[in-house]
């Protein structure tokens, strides 16, 4: 039973991208070369390269490179953050999940939204007040620089790497589907373009690529949702009723009796297999919620705005856009049930979507907007991946150049020019690594990778940041031990969980049965930081504790923070 398989895939995976993976890996058939889509994409690339040229002229110092000189407004940053979050995977993956299972897709997307208010209430302004370039600036503010920076750089690189591999593999498969280009070409194109943006244009180019892409995606998704609702006289009830009818008819066609078919039809209006047991529910929820507040490439975006006030308004804009986008995706998914699942032109002989289950939104684009709009949506999907990988690479590069090179190796004595050179070399290295890993992992099941990135962020970065910001007793030893414990526990439990132990390694039974390690690894990290800090009697611990009042004043008011405005 197809729907059953989708439900299982959705239950075991965690993020939109992994939904894409779970669905794309089986039936990723290469499509005929789509020239309209390629033309539209070429236009997008031309525009973004022009932006990069413009940005390159304004990128002279390390501050320009990492944070666009702190000159991004709250509104622009909000759109860019939304751009980071609305990946092609969440657009195609969540609409595909709604197409298959209905309501479960909404539960899923809500998890991605609720981290934002938490990030605002607990972190955003404090981050802006304390940091310059990376979240490690904040985490290590009053601690011994070398050990804390090394742990932060480690977790940043791990999170970025897993996220990046998932994006590269997703990109290759998606582009094979949408453009009819071979997998390897797609991965290399993504790698090369993202290198150009980051290498020459730094954060300025990355931000504007995100903004352009976010506007394209929001515009296109709005058009599709309105087009769908217009067919039902703008009555959601009429849309839902028709979707239930369609699912009921499909179930009857598949051989279900009348009662069973009606039950299956109505199942799309309520929770299905996504949330199983309470432990997994809380664990997945915690990973999504607190992982958002610990993702290095997201945290880095708060240093691109001039002050705490702009940091605050960027979260409001981001939350608004992302929430709006998820509502659009919900309408689009139901629209696909009604308009795509009933049109034999979009289906293969067995009634499955042509090109794989992720194609629901793509086929719907053709159904409501014709071939030209189909090309546009395909180009938007490609553009989206580019923007996301650019942000990830920049974040990884800054961990190496700012945290490891400038602070740990050069003890804070590196000049801006050499720091910039190291970050550019790192960008090149990361791009090559990303392309190679993207090709290496082509046939692998990478569904676990984004959920692992969220779990690592929630289990290591979030506890470290939270306690170093808010608890005066926290010490260097505590955050180093807690960060490492959080990282390794999340990593090991994920390997033992169904996503890797069963789906990748092929064992029959998982050793760790839950969907996400976070319910164990995050509290363990908090506990370790607390326990190690309170028992820490070293001289350094006294310095760490004595540093708290000054850090507190600056984090609360921004007084003492260097202005990040253009010089």
């Amino acid at each position: 039973m197809r729907a059953g398989r989708f439900a299982l895939g959705a239950a075991l995976t965690l993020t939109p991208l992994s939904a894409v993976q779970a669905h794309a890996i089986g039936p990723a058939v290469q499509q005929a070369t789509n020239w309209t889509a390629i033309g539209m994409f070429a236009a997008f690339v031309a525009l973004t390269l022009a932006i990069t040229r413009w940005a390159a002229r304004r990128t002279r110092t390390a501050s320009d490179f990492y944070t666009a000189g702190g000159g991004i407004t709250g509104f622009q940053n909000g759109l860019a953050i939304a751009g980071d979050f609305m990946s092609a995977a969440s657009f195609l993956g969540i609409s595909a999940q709604i197409y298959a299972d209905g309501y479960d897709g909404l539960i899923y997307s809500i998890g991605f939204l609720v981290g934002w208010p938490i990030l605002l209430f607990l972190m955003a302004e404090r981050l802006r007040n304390l940091g310059r370039f990376t979240f490690a600036d904040v985490a290590s503010f009053r601690f011994a620089q070398t050990p804390v920076r090394m742990v932060a750089a480690c977790s940043t690189l791990l999170v970025v790497l897993f996220y990046l591999i998932a994006q590269m593999v997703g990109a290759g498969q998606l582009i094979r589907l949408l453009f009819g280009l071979p997998y390897g070409y797609a991965v290399v194109i993504v790698g090369v373009l993202m290198t150009m943006y980051v290498l020459f244009g730094g954060m300025t180019a990355t931000t504007w690529v995100q903004i352009v892409k976010a506007m394209m995606l929001l515009g296109a998704a709005s058009f599709m949702a309105v087009a769908v609702l217009a067919r039902f006289g703008f009555s959601p009830e009429a849309l839902f009723a028709r979707a239930v009818e369609v699912k009921t008819a499909l179930a009857a066609l598949a051989g279900a009796g009348p009662d069973e078919a009606a039950a299956k039809g109505h199942a799309i209006m309520g929770p299905g297999g996504f949330i199983k047991d309470p432990v997994s529910a809380i664990s997945i929820g915690a990973a999504l919620m607190f992982g958002t507040a610990g993702l290095p490439h997201i945290l880095m975006r708060f240093f691109t705005v001039p002050d705490a006030k702009a940091a605050r308004s960027s979260v409001l804009w981001a939350t608004g856009w992302i929430g709006y986008f998820y509502i659009l995706t919900f309408v689009i998914g139901f629209g696909a049930i009604v308009l795509v699942a009933t049109d034999p032109g979009f289906l293969d002989a067995e009634g499955a979507l042509r090109g794989g289950s992720n194609m629901a939104a793509i086929h719907l684009a053709q159904a409501v907007g014709g071939n030209l709009f189909l090309g546009f949506i395909s180009a938007v999907a490609f553009a989206t991946i580019l923007a996301v990988v650019a942000g990830l690479t920049l974040s990884g590069a800054s961990a190496v150049s700012h945290d490891l090179y400038a602070t740990v190796i050069k003890r804070g004595q590196a000049d801006s020019a050499s720091e910039l050179r190291v970050s550019r070399i790192t960008v090149l290295v990361l791009a090559v690594v990303a392309i190679l890993l993207g090709i290496l992992f082509e046939k692998q099941n990478v569904a676990f990778m984004v959920s692992l990135a969220f779990a690592l962020a929630a289990s290591a970065n979030f506890p470290v940041l939270f306690l170093s910001l808010l608890w005066s007793g926290c010490t260097t030893r505590g955050v180093v031990a807690g960060g490492l414990v959080g990282l390794s526990t999340a990593l090991v439990l994920t390997i033992l969980s169904p996503a890797i132990w069963v789906k990748v390694l092929g064992y029959a039974e998982p050793i760790f049965p839950y969907g996400s390690p976070t319910i164990f690894s995050m509290p363990l990290a908090f506990l370790t930081i607390w326990l190690v800090s309170v028992t820490d009697r070293t001289g350094r611990a006294a310095v760490d504790r004595a540093g708290y009042p000054a850090q507190r004043v600056r984090s609360e008011t921004g007084i003492g923070a260097s202005s990040a405005h253009h010089h």
Binding site: I110, L113, L120, H266, I282
Partner: protein
């Protein structure tokens, strides 16, 4: 700087600001946590509850509840920004003028 920070930390306006803002963010955070984890736990313990029809039609209770959680997230964020702009920023600006950037 250390000195200015110490003087600032004992300024009654600063103490009042930190207390007020701290309480406000805790309340907002707890509301968000309760609503979201309440939502997923409701689903974990009773899937049928949100599948019930609102008024006999296809629309289930899950739809307004789900959209409500999204709206609440945006609303709480907006509420914080509104209050911070109105109540907290003027105090910080005054302190900044006095204790230096």
């Amino acid at each position: 700087m250390e000195d200015a920070a110490a003087r600032l930390a004992s300024d009654p306006r600063y103490i009042a600001l930190v207390r007020k803002r701290g309480r406000f963010t805790i309340v907002l955070t707890v509301i968000m946590l309760i609503v979201y984890f309440g939502f997923v736990l409701t689903i974990a313990f009773d899937k049928a509850l949100l599948a019930r029809s609102v008024s006999g039609g296809a629309t289930s209770w899950g739809i307004p509840v789900g959209l409500g959680v999204i709206a609440l997230a945006i609303l709480l964020t907006g509420l914080y920004v509104w209050r911070a702009n109105r109540d907290f920023d003027p105090v910080i600006d005054a302190l900044r003028a006095e204790y230096g950037a």
